[in-house]
């Protein structure tokens, strides 16, 4: 893990550097006497972990944390235990070290930071997988058929069934519009009527209260029209 140290006291930075040097998996890539210099560095560089002093003149450790858009793991270092409660408000703060920092306690904090990194990486991976879910399966006559989501241009509800219209083929499935709506990405699809969901990328034209999509003319509910207009990329 790459880490930086932010503390206005040189002795505190030297001690932290000494403690970091004793952990093989830690590389100190920067030491800063104030938050502003660290922000400047972080604008151009990524780090995995920050050892951050809370009590600094002008710009406190908490002020610094608030400036970070995607904060890495942060271990707070301080002489006062009074800030511990506030520290719990920040998800990125993984531990709180009281000065003078004992070597064993320091290693515990590094272990916590590593765990935090692993959990964050796993969450990111899961989110990425979610983003790339590009298809789902429908059951027709005991056959599971894969439907490519971007190829769907229209979903129509009819009684207990829904018609799924894709670029290649149309399917009739025993399901509800609500169920399929949950499978479709909001960024691409919009329910424009209680019986219709359309793929916004497949619209050919819009006239008054209807949408032409492929060869189908679909009604647009009055209540859905503002949302539809908002979602279109108008010149």
């Amino acid at each position: 893990m790459n880490c930086i140290i932010i503390d206005d006291e040189k002795l505190a930075r030297t001690i932290l550097k000494t403690l970091c040097d004793d952990v093989d998996s830690l590389q100190v890539v920067g030491e800063f006497p104030n938050a502003m210099q660290a922000i400047k560095y972080l604008n151009e560089n990524e780090v995995d972990l920050i050892f951050l002093d809370i009590h600094m003149p002008d710009f406190t450790g908490f002020d610094f944390v608030k400036t970070l858009k995607n904060p890495p793991s942060i271990v707070l270092t301080t002489s006062d235990s009074q800030f511990a409660i506030e520290a719990f408000q920040y998800e990125c703060i993984v531990d709180y070290l009281l000065k003078p920092i004992a070597a064993e306690r320091f290693k515990t904090a590094v272990t916590k930071a590593k765990k935090h990194q692993l959990i964050s990486a796993k969450t990111e991976e899961q989110n990425a997988e979610k983003t790339y879910e590009n298809d789902f399966y429908i059951n027709i006559d005991r056959r599971l058929i894969k439907i490519d989501i971007p190829s769907i241009y229209l979903v129509e509800a009819k009684g207990d069934y829904i018609h799924i219209k894709t670029e290649d083929k149309n399917y009739t499935v025993h399901s509800t519009l609500k169920k399929i709506e949950e499978k479709l990405p909001e960024s691409l699809f919009l329910k424009i009527h209680r019986s219709y969901i359309i793929n916004l990328k497949k619209i050919i034209d819009i006239e008054d209260n209807s949408v032409l999509i492929k060869k189908d003319v679909i009604p647009v509910s009055r209540s859905k029209r503002p949302e539809l207009m908002k979602r279109l990329d108008l010149l």
């Binding site: 040189k10 002795l11 505190a12 001690i15 000494t18 009590h55 002489s79 003078p100």
Partner: protein, 105 residues
Amino acid sequence: MEQPNLTYVDQLARGDEKIRQTLIDVIKTEFPEEEKEYYTVLAKKDYKKIEESVHKIKHKISILGLEKSYELANTYEHNLREHRMEGETDFEEILNTISAYLKTI
């Protein structure tokens, strides 16, 4: 009064003389600067700055193993937050003790 020691520094250095000396050098360089800063802001009666200065020195007091002195400094720091100077004499005595000790190492 309790006397400063290098127990923490030695624990950190774990027998590495270079690390030990680096830490001692930083203390010997930084402490007089912080002490000077303390008296400067004290003369200006700037409570906020005095508090910040005491806070910074407090760390060195703990590094040098002065547990009771650390508590006194802590109380002084809290008093300063309420614009009260109780603890000033004790704190300055601690500064003198550390200054004298640093000349011996």
